[in-house]
Amino acid sequence: MVAHPQTRVVVTGMGAVTPLGFDFQTSWQRIVAGESAAAPVTLFDVAGCRCKRAASAQLPGLPDLTPKQLSRLSRAARLALPAAREALAQAGLLDEAGRSKFAWLPLSVSTTGGGMAWGEKFLRAMLAQQDNAGLYPYIVRYQAHHQIHDLQRHLGFRGPITIIANACASGANAIGHGADLIRAGAHDCVLAGGFEALTELIYVGFDCLQTMSPERCCPFDLGRNGLMLGEAAAFAVLESESHARARGAHMLCELAGYGHTTDLHHLTQPDPCGAPAVRAMREALARAQCDASEISYVNAHGTGTLLNDASECAAFATVFGNGDSAQPDSPIPKSIRISSTKAAIGHTLGAAGSIEALFVIAALRSGHLPPNLNVRRPEPRVATNLVAVGESHPEMNAVLSMNLGFGGSNAALVFKRYEENVGHASRLSVVAPNRHEARSTLTIVGLGAVLPSETPQRMKGLSVASGEHTVFCVDQTREPLAKLQNEMRVRRASPITLFMLGAAQQAMAAEPTLRPDRLGIVAAFNTGVVVPTRRFFEGILKNGQRFASPNVFPETVFNSATSHVAAILGVGGPCYSLVSDDAAWVGALRVAEVWLANQLVEYALVIGATELDPISIDAYAVGGWLPPHGRTGFVPSEGAAALLLQKSNVQQGVRIAQMAGGFTYRARAEVRQAAQDCFAHFPADIAVCHTAQHSWLGEIEREMMKGTPAAFPYHGEAFTASAAWNTVHAAELARNQRREILLPVWGLNGESSALLLAGG
């Protein structure tokens, strides 16, 4: 991968579904007019909650889908699909049948809940001891990558998927990462965005944290008392300037800069001075070669909570005031207009950063500004900056969107008016996006693994019908995990955090002098923090919404475990939590490669991790993977592994020499073709590791095997953790035998990918 840091990234298409409209233009016109979608929640029962209001979206019709196809789409997918289609249409990338003109189109996407409403339905059924019949689609399709597979299938394309679950900032991360992919030279065109559907689990979670306003959300008002949740989907088509120009696309603006940092202050509270937010904004401005004084409009995160808005005001004063964090009360020039749009459409979590990015683009292009609603007594530090209804600013050249999230994830995006010939170098023109760039440049500096005990245990599902089965569990009473549990920061954390920390510390031991400010962390999850998620929802069902646990809910957020690891290691730079099936592991390695190629970090710590819970047993039993139906010896398992990576400049040491992924499949009949497409990217004469002997994919893998295959110890099936263990085993084999080894990474739920490891 060869980075092109001077590549200009342009936006050529936008699409959105929000509580204020089925499409972006309708939403924009209504938000500029000062409308709000705040209304009583009717999607689910909120009788036991302190708050009863949210901003719900009307689902657009999808007349080209059959009723059966529609029934298979979760609410999240019903939001995402029309938004993505609208973005492709505006970019001129839809054919007459409403399908993508590019058959290969990378996706950089964000969500926090995915199709969680269907996960809730499954959990509710298991706890109620309901019949298993008919439940399989819910447990399969609640996961985030299934909404993405829905989107790919109905829009007719395939390609690598990066699903970032960095809580409330992840919508900005998804768009920023899309630009990073282009600047790293990995792709020329990326569909980027986020989606979020309202669900009971998340609503009750915010309610129990008492961060929602019982009356009305009023960001940056002195009387603010909480946020309002919302739901939305928003997508943008990002292209290199040369690619867009070569195909004659209309360029809406330039995505000029992206900055992301991690706030280590607290899992749910921002640094009161806003220092990490300052670093994110300054990084975005620096990459955009833009002075803070050039910014005309800022779309603030502005949730309407006491702590968020106070921290953000301090950060704005530092960046746009006199630039001194020691004087957070320095005045912000009145010419910088600021608004939060969350009083209008709510906090849409995984979609927030994406829809707000689209709002700043629309402001930049139209000169109209979205107002900050419900302000009576403005926060003094931004009192003269808050946008009123009807305000316009026709001379804008640069705008900024800021997001802060649970787990301390901060992201800032800077967009500029698109101007030709501004002195940037341009790349050679191409019309079709790169089908795939398989060569890789990653050197493995350190390895670590937390494996389950070799002594099998027995675990029951929540439902009696799921039975009791053999599992491999990590022994948490052994060092180093036992000692790690004494860390105050992780006392509430899910076991997966300990697994990740144990593996990370082993990998980091290879570079004992490594400073955390030179490091970024990418974690790859499938089911992720399933233990607290089950515990939290089970608590709601048993004790009632009123008594939901504020101590458990933050741990249900996908990036909580990654944030704990970052806090313990002191990493305040970029941290991503990716979700998908096992293929998320390859996605995480791709993120590391992009960060290293773009010189955002010097080292990347990539972690794959899984934890087991009784609900996992229910899921595998309903899926038919366990006895008596499962006939492959599949054993549920848990653990983690980590790689410490550097960009390789020489062909020495143990390396990930090639990667290929994005070969998605939906039905079993498509798997063989997906695997063949994937393996075609690698030399034909290299030994293929046998990793899928205990799943239904083993037969296809055997067909692919040539030469003397390498088989690894079987530690059970732990998805991204298994993929990570196998990579550790393959790396050790490649190093000891000084040969190349091809490692398949089978996504059991829909994606075929592979790694080529080289030693010597």
Partner: protein
Amino acid sequence: MADISLDELKKLVVENCILRVQPGEILEDTPLFGPKGVGLDSLDALQLTVAIEKHYGIVINDAEVARQVMQSLGTLRRWLAQQPPPGAKQ
């Protein structure tokens, strides 16, 4: 309401705040919050308000009241003892 034993309150705090200490390590006047005490944070404070409402039926709606009564097990115990039983006329 009726007096609540110190041991009962210790158990409530340790279980709800997921502390890895023996209940005996927390004394009646040990600060619950801050680095010089047990080290609880704002999430624990919320968790304790939920637990107190669930166990004793007493609602703490005011954040400032919560801060005052949760300084230590002693302050919490004395405040609970002063509260009218749930359902009693104020």
